[in-house]
């Protein structure tokens, strides 16, 4: 594992600084709905998801975005180092009622300058990328 973000000599472009797999269940989606206030029923009702032509109940895009960035926070040590963070929602994460879904996040340094590091997040479910251009910049001091 790479040194902390503040260590000037210990980090390099290409370093994988964090990775994890998060197992989502329907309970995870209901929990996120309650915590965030997003009660769109496509995130917990199969009948509603089917009626609008979806392949199944989907994880909230903001849940995927939120768990992705949290993969990196322990390495950053301080979430307040993050200057900006953005994603495109390219593919949905379908959460099976029994099997759930695994979301895998891999965070790689793609740029370093005097002030900040840029970290790209590769986020996949069922071997498919679900977020595009998922990257953050974090202060190094």
């Amino acid at each position: 594992m790479t040194e902390n973000v503040t260590d000037a000599s210990g980090i390099a472009v290409g370093d994988v600084v964090a990775e994890r797999t998060v197992h989502l269940t329907r309970e995870s989606l209901v929990r996120y709905a309650g915590a965030s206030g997003d009660f769109n029923p496509i995130h917990y009702r199969d009948d509603v998801a089917a009626s609008v032509g979806l392949p199944g109940v989907l994880a909230h895009g903001m849940l995927t975005m939120g768990l992705a960035v949290e993969t990196v926070v322990p390495w950053l040590a301080d979430a307040g180092r993050i200057l900006d963070y953005g994603v495109r929602f390219t593919r949905p994460v379908v959460v099976d009622p029994d099997a759930g879904a695994d979301v895998t996040v891999r965070a790689t340094i793609t740029a370093i300058d005097d002030e900040a590091v840029t970290v790209e997040l590769a986020v996949t479910a069922a071997d498919t990328a679900v977020l595009g251009k998922a990257r953050l910049r974090a202060r190094r001091d």
């Binding site: 998060v22 965030s36 975005m65 949290e70 979430a79 307040g80």
Partner: protein, 149 residues
């Protein structure tokens, strides 16, 4: 009804103040699998120099959502929830949100661009604290489907 291009530049009132509670931050942290103690343990947050627990970076969406409710309530917006897809999301931070913050958000529609039969709408929420200092700007790109879709 197509998306109203005159939303760009329209003034919206600031949202009612939102008081960030410690238990709300803990609840949100658990929901996004945020294991780091700065999000749940006030002592860990204080060791980093914060007054109380630090909200996960995407918690700003909870505040931005108040502005999206404002947008959906505009009678002539041409934007309906069931035709809406969240295409893109960005946050630009001056500092993290911390429990105890009292935050207001101000909505601005910065772009309405035709896209297929519908439109891409860029909705920005500027979130400030009780001292009127900038905390974070949250930007959503929303894909609004056309009438036939």
């Amino acid at each position: 009804m197509p998306v109203n291009p005159e939303l760009v530049g329209r003034d919206f009132p600031p949202t009612a103040p939102y008081l960030v509670g410690r238990e709300k931050v803990r609840e949100f942290a658990r929901a996004v699998f945020a294991d780091d103690p700065q999000h749940t343990d006030p002592d860990a947050a204080r060791a980093l120099g914060y007054a109380d627990v630090v909200a996960p970076p995407t918690f700003a969406m909870v505040i931005q959502d108040l502005t999206l409710q404002q947008l959906l309530a505009v009678p002539d917006s041409g934007i309906e929830l069931h035709r809406l897809i969240h295409a893109e999301q960005r946050f630009a931070y001056t500092r993290p949100i911390v429990a105890g913050d009292e935050l207001v958000a101000t909505l601005a529609i910065t772009q309405v661009r035709p896209f297929g039969k519908g439109a891409m709408v860029t909705s920005e929420a500027t979130i400030t604290d009780a001292d009127d200092a900038h905390v974070v700007t949250a930007t959503s790109v929303l894909l609004v489907g056309g009438d036939d879709e």
